[in-house]
Amino acid sequence: MKRGLLRQILLLLGLALLPAIGHAIYYGDRVSWSAPELGKDEVKLEEAQSWGDSVLWVDARPDEQFQKKHIPSAILLNEDRWSELLPAFLNIWSPGKRVVVYCSSRSCAASHEVARRLREEAGLSEVFVLHGGWEKWLEGRK
């Protein structure tokens, strides 16, 4: 029984390899097999800092994390309280400002989501996501 089951498992594992290899070949150079440095809407900390006063930092983390600590001058705008916080953000924002959104780390997606909504719902164009998020900011402080 165990050998039969093992053979069947190996057969299924092998069967899945065929379309997967075909799929990977089909995608060819449309995907990167080495780690991408930056996402298309991301900006590195050093570059964002070089923009000086024209940067408007937006903290997309939950309220309690923002209350603990955040980038100086950052404004809270998270998805939990989007409708409530957006007016305050728009009051501070002015044309020519570059918005840089961050969440806790490279692995969180909240900053990308907030950046997307700022572009699509608020109609802003210069909206970026801080590569590495709050973790990267803390590293930069050391």
Binding site: M1, Q8, L17, A20, W33
Partner: protein, 141 residues
Amino acid sequence: MSILLRLIIGAVFLYAGGLKAWAPLGFANDIEHFHLLSWTLGMGFAFYLPWLEIICGLALIATRLRIAAVAILTALTAVFLVATILAKLRGINLDCGCFGSASKGWSFGTHLLVDFALLTTLLLIWFRETRVAPVARLSVS
């Protein structure tokens, strides 16, 4: 009962696999968010795992290989469940997962609930399928 469960779970994995196979780069990013594998390995899995889910989903519904399919899908779900819990313990904020773009925005609790439901159903199918004439089923291969 067992047939109905197999149809439902098979369809769920066909759907989940199809969504991820449609957008392998997005799935590679989802894997990357777990911080467990290198990007290259994650990309390899991003092409392989969706097809494994599709093949196993089909096998679960329509073939004599269903017990093997249940075994693979149970292992996949268990690994994903453990990885999700580990990520949470390490403070990684995941809002994407086993259903590709369809699960974006799910909370940690929702992820756990769905994974536990899948795991429980798969185990139920396993026990039902192996209890009924196991030797006859597995000797065909």
